[in-house]
């Protein structure tokens, strides 16, 4: 291993000689952890401050640069028992945090104003039916104006900004009628106050803002939480590369710090950290994450390789090239761009409702004014009635109807280990009628496993224990079977060949067929790779194949039972795809597909007005994920692929895919119910408003009543779900949401020495 670790890309240096770094820490779960980490670091010389944010599972450290360095801090944390991964927080995250604080400030101001205006309004309402003098009423109205006008000007900003943006882009959204309603209600109230009239609507306007800000803040907080968690997971996965400098010395650097032109050494068993060209060495590489192909491919000097491939046999030196400059990646980028453009055409349910809603409401208000004028009412009265229509129809319930359901459903998906990347994914998931699976890494587990059916257990144990001494990926898969975790002493690895050792006085060899002096009887029609083990005159052939996810059969059956069409589209050979399809009972499958062919299949399905969910993990799936109506990918997927998936799921099981569809379907039906409730409310309230009978009291009761009704209905999404499939496939319960997926995440990567000890 390269002994020097260079974290400099993550360290932020300040002018006073101190440095700052943020680390995502794994395995933090209790009060003791905070103390252990903080006081453990405080003991080190040169540490200025170490503070763990328990909510975010992140540690902020400041230190004096001349006394200690970043690598020492990470090492110390590892010794205390926590794996920590430095990362550079993204700009978008800082913006979101600022946005959240701003929304919370707006909410606080609106809340303060709503309470105080309501205090005054209730006094006026009760005063109007008892003995309040007109002078006192006017004083209260002026006081309300004094509170409501500045508060609305401040707390209404999120809506005003968004409405202005939409209008400038020449379309409309829900914030347009909201802004118009609030501004008109306030304007009318000021006018009426000046005219010493009986009815003002300050309370309605400010309460509307308060309710809507609640919804908006919750929505934003939910997305922020999922995004933050996803960033942490990504940094857990961040890998190190061995960079060669001019003098041939090795430095361990985080992959993020690699620059085009750097030379990197990739040893057998390691993942190729970046796209590039091989400048030295020859080996076989496993490109299953890139193309879906499970058979290793031979590479030599001059071959282009892609990040995510696994180096199987020999050491390689790689010259890093700028991302996205290879032929395969170029092709994928091109397809991606096309697919993403096509996708942005879909319109969200809320926007569709807003497009329909605003013209109808504004036309009704205009007709009301005209109608009253024709009926002989004064201009003042007609306009007041028209504005009352606008106030009562101000889409409080409508604007809450969809976001609240989304927040609740996203929270539920989060607890079932599905992390949403895009806000409208829930709506699109609910409409799905066809599910397309990639095979390698999606239906199958990302790591291959030994098929031990026909092998003598004693031989297998010996082979597995010998495999502990090798870095070859097949040997690593075999080594996971070893019960005795200590490698045989004196085991020697011959690169590209195998390992040999003396076991119980007998020479033993594990590796290729020729290394074990036997004949490889493998035909290429098999879906397995083989590793040979010779010991005491006996030779066994150990098949290692991609194994299905443990619940793949149950989940695909449950999906089919819900009326979904299932299809497998794989880049792998037909011999490897066929057996998987037949085991899962999926009749429609195609193998050896290029990314373009996968898209073609999806486009054809879409032209038959099918709604397609694509589940895939490979780089070659990325365009297909973008082309599909909605997409899911496992957390082990390639980076580019994850970036284009609408949601990412954690863990070894496929159940989250089923759960995602189920939760989304229920969420969509709740959204529709909520929209219906909002429409019914309007159908009841609008005639009263048109008739000119709306008083501020009626407006306040109707608006808050409908908002509360809609919110309560949305909360039904939290109730346990009915449906027999879930009794067989219990969703993993997550008591502490941030800890459980971390545990699962760690289940996916090989345990480190630290974890085995702790």
């Amino acid at each position: 291993m390269g002994k020097i670790v260079d974290f400099s890309t993550f360290v932020e240096r300040k002018t006073n000689g101190t440095a700052h770094m943020t680390l995502a820490v794994e395995g933090v779960g209790c009060a003791g952890c905070i103390r252990k980490i903080e006081s453990g670091l405080a003991k080190l010389p040169g540490i200025v401050d170490a503070r763990l944010n328990f909510t975010q599972r992140r540690l902020a450290v400041d230190w004096r640069d001349d006394e200690i360095d970043a690598a020492r801090i990470v090492k110390e944390l590892e010794q205390i028992g926590y794996r920590a991964h430095p990362f550079a927080p993204e700009r978008a995250e800082a913006d979101e945090t600022r946005q959240a604080k701003w929304l919370l400030k707006c909410l606080a101001v609106a809340g303060f104003a709503a309470m105080n205006v309501m205090l005054l309004s209730v006094s006026v309402w009760s005063g109007n039916v008892s003995d309040m003098t007109p002078e006192t009423r006017d004083l209260f109205h002026w006081l309300s104006a004094l509170i409501a006008l500045p508060a609305a000007a401040y707390a209404g900003q999120p809506f005003f900004h968004s409405a202005l943006r939409a209008l400038r882009a020449r379309h409309t959204n829900m914030d347009v009628p909201i802004s118009i309603g609030v501004v008109l209600a306030l304007g009318l109230s000021v006018y009426e106050t000046a005219a010493q009239a009986e009815h003002v609507y300050f309370d309605s306007a400010i309460m509307l803002l308060f309710f809507l800000l609640c919804g908006r803040y919750l929505e934003q907080a939910m997305w922020r939480k999922t995004r933050l968690f996803a960033t942490n997971l990504a940094s857990y996965k961040a890998e190190f590369a061995h960079r060669l400098d001019g003098k041939g010395e090795l430095t361990r650097v985080p992959v993020a710090a690699l620059q085009p032109g750097d030379d990197v050494l990739v040893r057998p068993g390691e993942v190729i950290p970046a796209d590039g060209t091989i400048v030295n060495g020859a080996s076989e590489i496993d490109e299953s994450l890139v193309t879906g192909e499970t058979m290793p491919r031979g590479v030599a000097s001059g071959t282009r390789v892609y990040a995510g491939s696994i180096n199987v046999s020999g050491a390689l030196t790689l010259r890093v090239s700028a991302a996205g400059s290879g032929t395969l990646v170029d092709e994928i980028e091109r397809l991606l761009q096309k697919a993403t453009e096509a996708k942005s055409r879909t319109v969200r349910l809320a926007d569709r409702a807003a497009r329909l809603y605003a013209p109808v409401v504004h036309a009704t208000a205009a007709l009301t004014a005209i109608g009253w004028l024709i009926a002989g009412a004064s201009l003042h009265d007609s306009i007041v009635t028209a504005i009352a229509v606008l106030i009562i129809t101000c889409p409080c319930a409508l604007a809450l109807a969809i976001p609240v359901v989304q927040v609740v459903a996203a929270g539920q998906l989060f607890r079932s280990s599905v992390i949403l990347n895009s806000g409208d994914a829930i709506e699109r998931l609910a409409e799905v009628d066809t599910v397309i699976f990639d095979k390698t890494g999606t239906l199958t587990l990302p790591d291959p496993a030994v098929d031990a059916a026909s092998i003598d257990p004693a031989m297998l144990e010996r082979a597995a224990r010998l495999a502990l001494s090798s870095h070859h990926p097949l040997a690593v898969a075999l080594a996971r079977r070893a019960r005795e975790r200590a490698p045989y002493p004196g085991a020697v690895e011959e690169p590209g060949q195998g390992v040999s050792a003396v076991i119980d006085g007998q020479p033993a060899r594990l590796g290729s067929a020729s290394f074990c002096q036997t004949v490889d009887a493998t035909t290429h029609a098999s879906d397995a790779s083989f590793i040979f083990f010779a010991c005491g005159g006996e030779t066994v052939r150990i098949p290692i194949r991609q194994s299905l996810r443990p619940d793949a059969v149950a989940v695909t059956q449950a999906l089919a039972a819900r009326g979904l069409d299932l299809i497998i589209l794989s880049g792998d050979r037909p011999e490897a795809v066929g057996p998987v399809a037949s085991r899962l009972g999926i009749g429609q499958w195609r193998a050896s597909l290029t990314p373009a062919e996968k898209i073609a299949v999806i486009e054809r399905l879409k032209s038959q007005s099918r709604r397609v969910l694509m589940v895939g993990d490979g780089l070659n799936d990325a365009p297909a994920l973008a082309a599909a109506d909605v997409s899911l990918s496992p957390i082990t997927a390639a980076h580019l692929t994850q970036a284009h998936a609408d949601a990412v799921f954690l863990g070894d099981r496929l159940a989250p895919a089923l759960r995602a569809v189920a939760v989304a379907r229920r969420a969509r039906s709740l959204m529709k119910q909520n929209l219906t409730l909002a429409v019914i409310y309007n159908a009841l309230a609008v005639p009263i408003a048109i008739a000119g009978l709306v008083t501020p009291l009626i407006a306040a009761v109707a608006m808050s009543g409908s908002s509360i009704l809609v919110t309560l209905n949305a909360l039904r999404a939290r109730l346990p779900m009915r449906g027999e499939q879930f009794s067989e496939l219990p969703a993993p319960a997550m008591a502490v949401p941030l800890v459980e997926p971390e545990a699962k995440m760690r289940g996916l990567v090989a345990p480190t020495a630290v974890e085995l000890v702790s």
Binding site: A42, T55, K105, F112
Partner: protein
């Protein structure tokens, strides 16, 4: 009703104080780590120690 002339402004001032207090807590980052704050009170290792910044 003259009592209103000082009672209502007084009530508003109280509300405003609450609002300002909230904005101050927000600004000083007291909501950045809600779960951590709940746990940080549990360890009692500061008992018997003089004011040391652990």
């Amino acid at each position: 009703m003259n009592v209103l002339l000082y009672l209502v402004p007084l009530a508003l001032m109280l509300g405003l104080t609450g609002l300002i207090a909230f904005l101050w807590t927000l600004k000083s980052g007291q909501y950045d780590d809600l779960d951590g704050a709940a746990l940080r009170i549990l360890p009692d290792d500061d008992i018997g120690r003089t004011n040391e910044n652990a």
